[in-house]
Symmetry: D2
Subunit: 487 residues, 4 copies
């Protein structure tokens, strides 16, 4: 289920970005705004839109905050033009955030180019070092600037050729939208790590508008039709002469991020060809199957989700197990970023700002609590305490994914390995830490089956440690996360 504003504050596993693109629509900036709004869950710290106006100039609006904080009617009107790209970002904290806000925009010898990027380039530091020795200037610390430099260094009047040449040098994850004064380009790395989808919309003139977005929920919101995925390794573009597509020379086995299904993507999106809601429900159903095999279910009274992200899996668990599904924990949706956190002194009273377990539902019951994943364990611990304090007799935690044991190097901001509780502790000891009477995870085979047999097509490195690329020393970075790295 989609995430509210506030939850992001506590989440330890954050997607870095979402991207969109619009071509041939007089409302390009407003459609970008709405599309970014639909994928707000992919990045809540900054947002930006770049358009190309009638004179071929870029217009830019970027800022820190939610989509609705960065743009207003005035700025959307100012973003004139029939083509646009947009970006939402979970940015680095503190110092110099604005320099890294996207889309990143530049004037090259062949005109203005803007890029919006979701993902992480694993060999970015190597390339940066080389470019700097060759006189390149970097204003920001993000990988996106590397892409712009590689494009600028290839001498062709054909932007797509320059872009392809640049992308062939990269390794890692990138789902891009690119805007020049003549075209909208969408490109995806050969692994297909991050999602990127193509859609169309009939514009006001009865002509076809093209829409690109990270997730299909953006199409739903603006009433666009989903056409297909941008393929791994594909460079697709549309210009005055119509749409075109080429494939990159570099070929790789598909390795789409399984965690998009587990947690990131909105439940109402179709990601990598499948309904996220459906996958999560199936994962919950398989969790119940596992419990059935273990003979666990006979002594359970009810199933409750950790709202909102655990809801589909809990429904699946309920259907398979026949145990009643209840909203045992009510979530407060009003929390915004200006909420004044209570002092420790007040916190000690037992404040429940976000989640309120219902005594009337839980009292005296043997409860199965379903969550989508378990990263550090600290949040689960708090939740189980609340559930028990509301009178639950037994509290059993079920996770609709395998234990997370490794950090991500492909565009997800994960805690360092040492903070992934499952990387160093047994299931029993985790159960003890979080205060569960029992704890069980969905096994990786079950999760892969829930995503319907595309076993070879997914990267599950966070669950099995098998990274599809060379890591270029990133795994020796003690911090274990990739944001803000610069040589």
């Amino acid at each position: 289920m989609s995430e509210s504003v506030s939850e992001s504050v506590e989440r330890t596993w954050k997607d870095e970005c979402g991207v969109v693109g619009v071509w041939n629509n007089e409302h390009a900036s407003r459609l970008s705004y709405l599309s970014l709004y639909a994928i707000q869950h992919r990045g809540q710290e900054s947002a930006g839109i770049v358009t190309v106006d009638a004179s071929g100039e870029h217009r830019v609006q970027k800022g820190l905050g939610l989509v609705q904080e960065v743009f207003d009617d005035v700025s959307l009107d100012r973003l004139a033009g029939r083509a646009a790209i947009g970006h939402v970002r979970y940015s680095t904290t503190g110092v110099n955030q604005m320099a890294n806000a996207q889309p990143m925009q530049a004037n090259l010898f062949n005109g203005p180019v803007a890029v919006a990027h979701n993902g992480n380039i694993v060999n970015a530091n190597e390339i940066k070092k080389r470019l700097k020795e060759d006189g390149a200037i970097f204003h920001a610390t993000s990988d996106t600037e590397v892409i712009l430099h590689l494009v600028a260094r290839h001498h062709s009047s054909n932007l797509v050729e320059c872009l392809q040449a640049g992308l062939e040098e990269l390794d890692g994850a990138y789902s891009l939208t690119v805007l020049s004064h003549q075209s909208l380009i969408a490109a995806r790395d050969p692994y297909g790590f991050r999602p990127l989808v193509l859609g169309t919309l009939k514009n006001g003139d009865g002509e076809k508008s093209w829409i690109v977005a990270s997730e299909t929920c953006a199409f739903d919101l603006i009433g666009a039709q989903f056409v297909r995925e941008i393929e791994p390794g594909e460079i697709w573009w549309v210009d005055a002469s119509g749409e075109h597509s080429i494939k990159m020379k570099k070929k790789r086995e598909r390795a789409s991020c399984i965690f998009e299904h587990v947690y990131f993507a909105r439940p109402d999106s179709i990601v990598f060809g499948q309904s996220v809601y459906g996958v999560r429900k199936e994962a919950g159903r398989r969790l119940a199957e596992q419990d059935e095999k273990e003979g666990f279910l006979k002594d359970v009274d009810l199933v409750i989700p950790v709202p909102d992200s655990g809801v589909p899996s809990a429904l699946g668990y309920s259907v398979q197990s026949g145990k009643p599904f209840e909203l045992g924990i009510i979530r407060n949706h009003y929390i915004g970023r200006t909420f004044i956190q209570p002092h420790q002194a007040i916190r000690d009273f037992g404040v429940k700002i976000k989640l309120n377990p219902q005594t009337s539902v839980l009292s005296g019951k043997r409860v199965v609590v379903i969550d989508d994943s378990l990263v550090r364990g600290t949040t689960s611990k708090k939740i189980l305490q609340l559930v028990r304090a509301a009178g639950a007799k037994e509290v059993h935690l079920r996770i609709a994914a395998p234990p997370t044991i490794g950090p991500c190097y492909y565009g997800v901001d994960t805690p360092e390995k040492s903070q992934l509780i499952a990387s160093s502790q047994s299931v029993e000891s985790i159960a003890k830490f979080v205060g569960a009477d029992s704890l069980r995870y969905l096994d990786l085979a079950g999760l892969k089956e829930a995503v319907q047999g595309q076993n070879g097509g997914y990267c599950a490195a966070c669950f099995d440690g098998k990274y599809p690329t060379d890591l270029f020393g990133l795994d020796r970075n003690p911090k274990g996360h990739l944001r803000g790295i610069d040589a």
Copy 2:
């Protein structure tokens, strides 16, 4: 389920207010802030807190907007003192809003007094007229000022005596918290229209703090213990000598607002002695029973709620009917008040800002859609269109309450009678208007049973037109709503 910020914009039936009070706690302003935050759904247009500082002076912070917009760390620190009352309000629009913001505060001959009020006084205009002729000044249009004037006109050094004398003159709905330099008072009209509950909290010194609030969810959030309802007709107070209680002379048959259970209150609150979640689930169960009797259920594939308020009833319906519960409509929780609404031109594309029906769930299915109530019918119409566009083969609407036929005069901002679709149209014609293959309401008997046999104890005037008080001509007001009325 609790309401998000944005939904209030469209809702046509709004509770006017929520109140809180805190006594004997060094964090009085912050506990008030958190408590108001928990009852934010009762009023999102203005918020205020008044404290009494060490020198016996009132400190006041009021403003337009959500609780988290009105207060910040600086203002909460400035609101020094160990006692406080607070208020959230659905205020009148446009002109002079701030003058009506609460708590209302005044300096009387016996010191400073502040009042926070939830409800509506039906004989306020009569009393105002009399007081003005006697030289009284009214700065605002709200009923609350009438209460202050009545207190001021009774010559006793005992504030509770003055208050009681004043309240005996009133007819209508009031749940009050009152703060002087010496006491915190809570009072409720003899009908008990609006909720008001009492709780305690151990403060930092190990002593007992007292908390008063409109709903128990405020206690849950701050970790307070629910003690009991303030009784209809009770004046309760706490001062340096401890807690006290008296009963007003005026006696009335209890007439608590049944709509609190149907829609207003948070599902995790205990209201009028019962779990709101439980009542709603039971209402849904009874809806399914009705359908069973009609032989309707055999041709249904699944049950979906209108999120979030229809969820508990849909769960109850699912349990009783055995039909699977699905989140067929996903709700976007990010929408805030700064969201830029799309132009009509874009809207025509079929924009779905708030609710996104899932084709993967609904396609080809015969669907029962459950909502808590149906007022004008326009929102239901849009939702059913979306559900049908997502591929549902049949769409049946079930309402977990009776048809709403009359406006409320007891503190709820309702549309005028002519806009209540059920006041003039048959169920069949409403079904046609909203585009439902069938429409059925829970009957009033069923709803009253869902609130467990307190039949005599509820006001259901909006469903049956039986108003427990004289209306003093208010029913002849063509606008049919009560806000901002002044002779």
Copy 3:
């Protein structure tokens, strides 16, 4: 010279308020805005406008801050109507400021009434006490509310009669504008302490609009014609039948505030019948005459003002003495309220935020520094240090007014008596304290002559201690200032 935003922060002697009124103009709110803007120097902490709209209802906008911070295009449009009053205020600090913001507005038995008040009622506490015992409610601590209550208690359908009856009970200073749904009223206490002037403007329909304001500079800004003073003890009003005037029964000898000429009023205003610029220049000329008589002038090189308020007097001194006038101190006009004050550590470097003495002008010179008044002496001390540090060989301070020895009880926020350096120290010791080689004040006779022989017509209590009214114990208030007093 008019004061910039920032100077008010340091000023120790502040006028409490300025008032305006507009009648019969479709741009009433905008003319009020511009008029308040012209008298911004009279109050920079809050501002407000009340209009009467076409339906006879008041519309109100009040807020903390400068005129341009409180109003915007939206609020000025919302303030519909052809009649308005407005107010700027130097408000109390800290607690509950908004409750005292003006105009104060109320609904009386004979309709809505709003009042804007400049001045201070010396017997307000006595009257308040009596009214409270009679059941009156006070929401604020200001005197203005007393006026509203007195009006409300007089039973006549004629608002002017009620107002006159109320005003006859008051003692002290008041220049009022009052707005009902039928008339605009201007009234001034029998002493004529504070200024109040009447003007006209041709409106868009070719008819006459009426304007009332504290100072004529408001007329200049909006292009209105100055007609005359509202007389001491006069109640003037305009309604559908034209303009009217009556005199109060209470008669007093005129006692207009001489400090308006010395410091408060804008130099381009005509106050109490005379040009403020002219009076100040004449005061400076007389200062030079005094110095001539003392044989002081022969050893002086140049005359410099403390900018901006000392400029006219320095020009007068220069003309009389024949000594060159130079802008020896340059003032920084950019300072606004959001300026971050430097830390003490930086301050120690010798920071000169506001005033920069010019070494190229002052170096090696014997300098006469002219200021309008000297209250605590601390600001003068800093300025003289700067002048000396810029190389001045001798620094002589001349004050274009007598020593200030007493606080004001008639609407000026003065420091308590003990902080008025001249109340306890000799001129020699003050000269030593401020670091002047010599110090001389204009004597009271000279100042009175500068205001052209209206000797009997001025209150100079701050210079001579002769208070024209009974003080009702206010002089026993240890704080010596009047803001926020409440029994």
Copy 4:
């Protein structure tokens, strides 16, 4: 005299920038803030500060607005470090302003470098074109980025060498401050177009801090000592080993901007070795000499300045002519950027928002009005109308500079040539246009003498059309102004 916030809105001749630098002071960010504040008149649209923190990283805060709007206590604290540079800017309007905000910051192969630039590079477009063909990326349209690229392309580990090599390629105006992790650099083009001065301050540890700024008034404000100008063609720097200086190979005849003395610089600054106040006063004196020779003075009653910028010249005119100086026009210093401009309907009443001529001073008089310069003539026209409406019998305009006939290409934002009224019209016809009974300018010889015989040392191209550099086609740009140019 320094300019207030609002006047800039109307001014047609704007300096593009001001720069500062601080080295070896624990309060580096706050000293930069105060220094920028002192030179706020040089740019009011954006402001920025970059510091180097203890770890050698840049910290950046930039924003649109005044210095006091861009920074607050939090941001100044965040700007940790003992070295800083800062910038204020009159930026381009509308599109993409933030990308051009300065200081501009980049990561080069030899570390982070930030640049703040005042001036305009006349061959920037030629260099940009070449760099782009070589693969360089430009994010902004400003010349400053060219400088960064030239530095990046020179392969030396010595930043000063790289900078010198880059600067030798430039033609035009630049006064720079540059900050790396190891040094603070100040550089000035060989013509010395724009000012740049060096100062010192004893820091808290008793050691010497270095300060660089556009004008000496920045030193005055923070209590720093003026040491000397940075020489034309000089590159000065300070690092751990102390201060250093080299001269560029390119030699040019000095051509400092004479308009800094006429209008731009603050009167309390020492610019190009002379007091600005002194130069302006002398210019006024020479204007009076001219009038004496013409026998004009006998029929004049008084001299008034257009405030504030005409004040020094009017004082000089008064001294020479013996005619009395009066503040005949009072200026309103409160106007800020949020002021709501009156509608045309109100404007027609004769609104005088900013300048209020005093009838009491002007009525019946023959008046000489002194202004610093005359560009389009439209502002002068309005002012003379006001003066005449206030009763002046004759109004004679005197300009303390020659007629402005050519646009500036060296860092001043001027109107295009066709809008410079003196470029196409005779003095008589200008006099008629502005409504003066007579008009006279100071001749160029007189102005050059006022700046004390450095005739060869000044650029007066705006007065005589003699541009010291090749213009690289800029004079063929139809718009006649240089902002935002990009190939």
